[in-house]
């Protein structure tokens, strides 16, 4: 996909100014998700679960090569065709070849962030293949030709009014249709899609190395239909999605659902084991699993970034993030947004193209507090910032200012002099941008004035 992360400062400001309803929709929805998560965590020993999940994931990540081999063997034994894609281009080529060989004309898609990352939809449409997103939120943003705004709720930035207007315009539904009525219209359209499609494409929440089980979590049933009705099912799975044993699934499925939406379990959980057997009435004739790297092994090899790969894409960190809440995901200019996007993007596509993202955080730590696999996001953000400084990617003026500041702060006399100067500034000086970087700061906040005397002066005069 196209990465526009360097526009984050401009884009976030623009969204706040020009599309304030985005902030309203996103804030409302994320607060709600977060409340539900808290309640669902409180029902279980969430801390112990998180510790355990962190350990299991760390174990997989530090033995990834052998688990990938084991997974491949298990999948092949189940009759699944396994492919390996090093980057987005290879992944696209594999999907294209599978589709071409099977004479595919129509594809239904189950919601998959990885397929967004890889740019599968535009590639299919360039082949003349029609692709239908079947997750309701994903379907809505497909109609609008927008990328997802949230890992779990792709259309989280839209209000009911906007969806009503969209459906009114496209499908002639009444301008005041109820959410149920809107969903009904979409359901009918999607049903036809399922019946006509030759191929279903999904992602994978987890893949069990021991048994080759592909696990998928959802609430609408569309994933189940996408993976079982068409004659071919192709799953795109990031290499970091492995779990060692079948018995690990139970906690991971529940922990993920609890973190994402506050549910004990997704309404539908599918555990898939390959194509239809002779004795089975339905299911696809052929199943393909494409293991995708696309920058992941580089992240894994990076001692400061590898923990990012524990992520189970629950979106809890987005829901808890007060920065994400202001703009939703589009401002970030990358498929994964919010706190996890800010640390994953530089790892997957490079810091030069994503430099503002590690700074898109006040380091409040709410993301770490909620993450079901305890990814230390604030620490990772700091590591990327450090690297941005090392690689000279930060503004020259900023660097000079910080160097000057550090120098002054280690010379107590210089500190005193600066404090004097601060007090000699004319009354309105701070309001009038004597210091250019402070301009925007002071504009939105009235009355920034130094105390008439500094504490130090008062102390020296005798307290």
């Amino acid at each position: 996909m196209q990465v526009k992360a360097n526009d984050y400062p401009k884009e976030s400001a623009r969204l706040l100014r020009e599309e304030p309803q985005v902030r309203e929709s996103v804030t409302g929805a994320t607060l709600n998700f977060d409340r539900n998560r808290r309640a669902a965590y409180a029902e279980v020993g969430a801390e112990a679960w998180r510790d355990w999940a962190e350990r299991v994931k760390n174990h997989v990540l530090t033995h990834l090569d052998s688990y990938l081999e084991q997974a491949e063997r298990a999948l092949i034994a189940n009759g699944v065709q396994v492919h390996w894609a090093e980057d987005a281009e290879q992944a696209q080529r594999i999907v294209a070849e599978v589709a071409r060989a099977a004479g595919v004309k129509k594809v239904v898609k189950a919601k998959s962030m990885l397929s967004e990352e890889l740019g599968i939809n535009p590639m299919l449409s360039s082949m003349g293949i029609e692709t239908l997103e079947t997750d309701l939120g994903e379907y809505i943003i497909q109609l609008l030709d927008q990328p997802p705004s949230h890992i779990v709720g792709p259309a989280i930035h839209l209000g009911l009014e906007q969806i009503r207007a969209l459906f009114h315009q496209r499908f002639g539904t009444p301008p005041d249709a109820t959410p149920d009525a809107l969903a009904g219209v979409a359901r009918k359209l999607l049903r036809e899609g399922f019946l006509q499609a030759d191929m279903g494409i999904s992602g994978g929440n987890f893949l069990v190395a021991e048994t080759g089980t592909l696990a998928l979590i959802e609430n609408e049933g569309n994933i189940r239909l996408s993976t079982s009705v068409p004659r071919i099912h192709l799953a795109l799975v990031g290499i970091e999605k492995l779990l060692p044993r079948f018995s690990d699934l139970a906690v991971f499925l529940s922990l993920t659902a609890r973190a994402a939406t506050g549910q004990r379990l997704g309404t539908f959980v599918s555990l898939l084991h390959g194509p239809r057997q002779a004795s089975e009435p339905d299911g696809p004739e052929a199943v393909h699993v494409v293991f995708v790297d696309n920058g992941r092994s580089a992240v894994l090899a990076d001692p400061e970034a590898w923990e990012t790969l524990r992520c189970v894409r629950c979106g809890a960190c987005l829901n808890a993030c007060p920065v994400y809440r202001q703009t939703g995901g589009h401002a970030y200019g990358y498929v994964y947004s919010g706190p996890i996007g800010a640390v994953l993007a530089p790892g997957l596509v490079g810091l030069e193209e994503t430099q503002p993202l590690p700074y898109a955080s006040s380091l409040c730590g709410a993301c770490y507090e909620v993450c079901p696999v305890k990814i230390p996001i604030p620490k990772l953000l700091l590591a990327w910032r450090q690297r941005a400084v090392e690689e000279n990617l930060t503004p020259r003026l900023e660097k000079a200012a910080i160097q000057g500041y550090a120098w002054a702060m280690t010379q107590p006399w210089a500190y005193r002099l600066a404090a004097k100067a601060l007090r000699l500034l004319p009354e309105k000086a701070l309001d009038n941008t004597v210091v250019p970087v402070l301009k925007a700061w002071v504009e939105g906040r009235a009355g920034l004035k130094p105390s008439p005397k500094s504490f130090r002066e008062l102390w020296e005069e005798g307290l």
Binding site: S362, C364, I402, L422, G444, R445
Partner: protein, 249 residues
């Protein structure tokens, strides 16, 4: 008992009253207060922005300034976090400096935390009777240091009514350089936080940066809330205290 006060640069320049209140309060509680004059800034802005070399320069300076202190107390949660959690982090690959940083880390406290945990005082007086107070938890104090109940206990025991605030533990959007780099997002976060503020007489916090940011926004939007540093409010709490003398000495 001797305490070295680390007022930190922002409070020194912009919230001198917080430092003054901290001195009076600590003396009132029978503590001898010193102010090592070479102190400047803890280095947090540089650390957070990724400039670790510069942060190390400032940390090294501060380590020297407070080396001989018995306790170091700060009227600021995030600067406390800088000294206590992040100084050791800065030096994790430099064993000698690391052990110095750890030694400083062990004797460094945020003011309310020091009063409750080290002095063992949980009632300062009754000077806040009848006041409705909202408390903003600075993120670093709350999540990095786990300081949550100490300030609340001191306020409540002084007779304040702590008004429940839906967004009490949400980030206000200050974040040091964050608010300079992304001013619109930062302001929008302050607005979200303030939009849920219940009706109170005073908004307070242990974090000076957050307070400057919030009070600036409050003034800009002409909202009617008094904003005071926690140290000042706690000193006020100690003003009406027949029995507090028992704690002194």
């Amino acid at each position: 008992m001797r305490v070295a006060l680390f007022v930190t640069c922002l409070a020194d320049q912009f919230l001198a009253e917080a430092g003054v209140a901290a001195v009076k309060l600590l003396r009132h509680l029978g503590v001898e207060v010193e102010f090592p004059p070479a102190q400047t800034c803890c280095g947090q802005p540089a650390y957070n922005a990724g400039y670790w070399n510069e942060a190390r320069q400032m940390a090294a300076h501060t380590l020297g300034v407070f080396e001989d202190a018995e306790y170091v107390v700060l009227p600021s949660g995030s600067c406390t976090a800088m000294v206590r959690s992040f100084y050791p982090e800065l030096y994790r690959d430099m064993p000698r400096k690391f052990s110095k940083a750890e030694a400083l880390s062990r004797k460094t406290y945020e003011l309310a935390e020091f009063i409750v945990k080290v002095l063992g005082v949980s009632t300062l007086g009754l000077g806040l009777e009848g006041q409705r107070i909202a408390y903003h938890h600075g993120c670093h104090a709350l999540r990095e240091l786990g300081i949550k109940d100490e300030p609340l206990t001191l306020l409540a025991n002084a007779g304040a009514s702590l008004v429940p605030w839906e967004a009490a533990i949400e980030c206000c959007g200050f974040g040091g350089l964050f608010s300079v780099k992304l001013p619109e997002v930062s302001l929008s976060m302050a607005d979200r936080k303030l939009s849920t503020l219940p009706e109170v007489d005073v908004l307070t916090s242990a974090d000076g940066g957050c307070l400057l940011h919030l009070s600036g926004r409050i003034a800009h939007r002409r909202l009617n809330v008094a904003v005071k540093p926690l140290a000042s409010v706690l000193w006020e709490a100690a003003q009406k205290t027949p029995e507090v003398d028992a704690h002194a000495g």
